[in-house]
């Protein structure tokens, strides 16, 4: 599949934000198409997570536009983005700690499970059927991320790597058109990283667009269709993995600065 044979699903144009006088992200543009894995890379402090937070409605950008499926969604609240098919995970995990793993995954079905409050209150068959569907879906997703055996455990007791996968499962429960993953492999061991790697490729293959921020360069180079490189809040390069890794500006800003990481 080449980059141009599908409509752009998410398009970011001239996006920027300033905190006080500091331009954390400045004039960044790129697009993501269905089924494509686009990675944002750059040295620490380059503005990757800030860019993510603007796209997903956590921060209000001070300039530029975010378009999802042709609609302007700049600065709209996360719960509305969720309803339009954008789902995300966080670098520092946003899990319902005191719920069970299964309940966390079921929470992801919130939008699909909605029905009349009175039907819920009286436990009508329609309400029970919705709850059952959500639970069945949640169990299937947990199986997909390898957490089915931990379903009844309290989420707060899980290992970091497991919580990362739980967060992805919950994000997938929303049946998103685009999934934003903020460092899904951070803090995971080699085996866990490979599992997450497979999971992401599989999700993309099912037609979901993936926007990824990741420090594990091997993983990024292996799975990305397209890479956007940030440095000091500006886009310094973009292209396929081979092009980007040969780009002298990228080597200087990123690989050069962090060559100790290999």
């Amino acid at each position: 599949m080449t980059r141009s044979d599908k409509e752009t699903l998410l398009s970011v144009e001239g996006l920027g934000i300033a905190f006080g006088g500091l331009k954390a992200v400045n004039n960044v543009s790129f697009g993501v198409r269905p089924g494509e894995i686009v990675s944002i890379i750059g040295p620490n402090g380059a503005g990757k997570t800030t860019l993510f937070n603007m796209i997903s409605g956590i921060y209000l950008p001070s300039m530029g536009q975010v378009t999802l499926s042709g609609e302007d969604v700049t600065g709209i609240a996360p719960h509305l983005l969720a309803r339009r098919g954008m789902s995300r995970t966080f670098q520092n995990l946003q899990i319902f700690q005191s719920m069970t793993v299964l309940e966390n995954a079921i929470a992801g079905y919130h939008l699909q499970e909605r029905g009349p409050v009175l039907a819920d209150l009286f436990g009508l068959p329609s309400s029970r059927a919705r709850a059952k569907r959500a639970e069945a879906g949640a169990r299937k997703l947990l199986e997909r991320v390898g957490l089915d055996r931990a379903a009844e455990r309290e989420a707060g007791n899980l290992s970091y790597g497991s919580l990362k996968r739980l967060e992805i499962a919950r994000a997938l429960a929303l049946d998103p058109k685009i999934l934003l993953l903020d460092e899904p492999a951070a803090g995971c061991n080699a085996v866990e990283t490979e599992e997450i790697d497979h999971l992401i490729a599989e999700v993309a293959a099912s037609g979901v667009a993936i926007l990824l921020v990741e420090h594990d360069m091997k993983m990024v180079m292996r799975i990305s269709n397209h890479i956007v490189v940030l440095d000091h809040g500006e886009k310094i390069a973009e292209g396929d993995p081979a092009t980007v890794s040969r780009n002298p500006a990228v080597v200087a800003a990123y690989l050069g600065a962090e060559n100790a990481d290999g």
Partner: protein, 290 residues
């Protein structure tokens, strides 16, 4: 024996109001971890507005309905004007804001309704019912039934409805709740509206027995808070039981020790709970990951 039964009757009567206040605390706490100390003012307003509207010539049921709707609207306004602008502030700051709101509501009520003590007729007359050598007022039965009905409705709401679980999810992790598509602003508005309505209902039911004045809110808030703490903050079952227990402890203390210690009991209970049972009887356990 008839003496004990009499004390128990007055205990459950006043306990029903404390239970309603505690249930009001539960909702806002579940949505936001905030303890809303203006909860007692909602009770005061429920009684006051009903009295005012009844005095103006409206039939009692209509006056009560108006009181509940207006108080509920005030709860929403309080959230929009005082809590929402401070979103992101630590919970303690938000709790202090609710204390400020409580003082403001109390002061305004003093200006609007005056300093007199008010009441309105009981719903089913004032003829006491004799049971086992003691008496209970028909209004007490209304109060107890009100507390039980609200408890049942809330319990079903939180355990069965998706909206109820969305409220719990919002308290657990607001950002995560937004990510799965929950409108957390709506959840907050809803919980303030519900909580204020429940408080006002308490005031409507209790005023014929306890009377009302601009300053009664703080007492209800503290005792309802003691009930909620005793039962375990956040749990409707705990709030109901805790509220009734505080009422009973208070009535028994007043009866067998001295009515002067009546108000101190709630504080003693708060202290004992904090020392020996910080989660309360049915409290949720907290596991914070750092």
């Amino acid at each position: 024996m008839s003496e004990l039964i009499q004390f128990l009757f007055s205990g459950v009567t006043v306990g029903a109001v404390y239970a309603l206040v505690a249930l009001g605390f539960t909702i806002i706490y579940n949505a936001s971890d905030v303890v809303n100390f203006a909860q007692g003012e909602f009770v005061m307003l429920g009684g006051m507005i009903t009295w005012f509207a009844h005095e103006a010539g409206l039939p009692l049921p209509l006056a009560a309905l108006i009181a509940i709707v207006l108080t509920s609207a005030l709860g929403v306004a309080m959230n929009k004007l005082a809590i929402e602008p401070a979103r992101g502030a630590p919970v303690v700051s938000l709790i202090i804001i609710t204390i400020g709101a409580s003082i403001f509501i109390q002061g305004t009520a003093q200006l609007v309704f005056g300093k007199q003590i008010h009441t309105f007729p009981a719903f089913s007359g004032d003829t006491p019912i004799h049971v086992g050598g003691a008496t209970i007022l028909p209004q007490s039965l209304w109060m107890i039934a009100g507390a039980l009905a609200v408890f049942l409705a809330l319990w079903l709401f939180f355990s069965r409805t998706l909206l109820g679980r969305a409220v719990m999810a919002t308290a657990n992790n607001r950002l995560a709740a937004q990510l799965v598509g929950i409108n957390t602003n709506f959840v907050m508005t809803l919980s303030f509206a519900l909580s204020a309505a429940i408080g006002a209902l308490g005031g409507v039911l209790a005023t014929p027995v306890t009377l009302t004045a601009y300053g009664v809110g703080i007492g209800f808030a503290l005792k309802g808070f003691a009930g909620a703490m005793l039962g375990g903050m956040g749990n409707p079952k705990g709030a109901l039981l805790g509220g009734f227990l505080i009422g009973l402890i208070e009535a028994l203390t007043a009866g067998y020790l001295s009515s002067q210690y009546k108000d101190a009991v709630a504080f003693v209970v708060i202290l004992l709970v904090l020392f020996f049972l910080p989660q309360g009887l049915f409290g949720r356990k907290t596991t914070d990951r750092v």
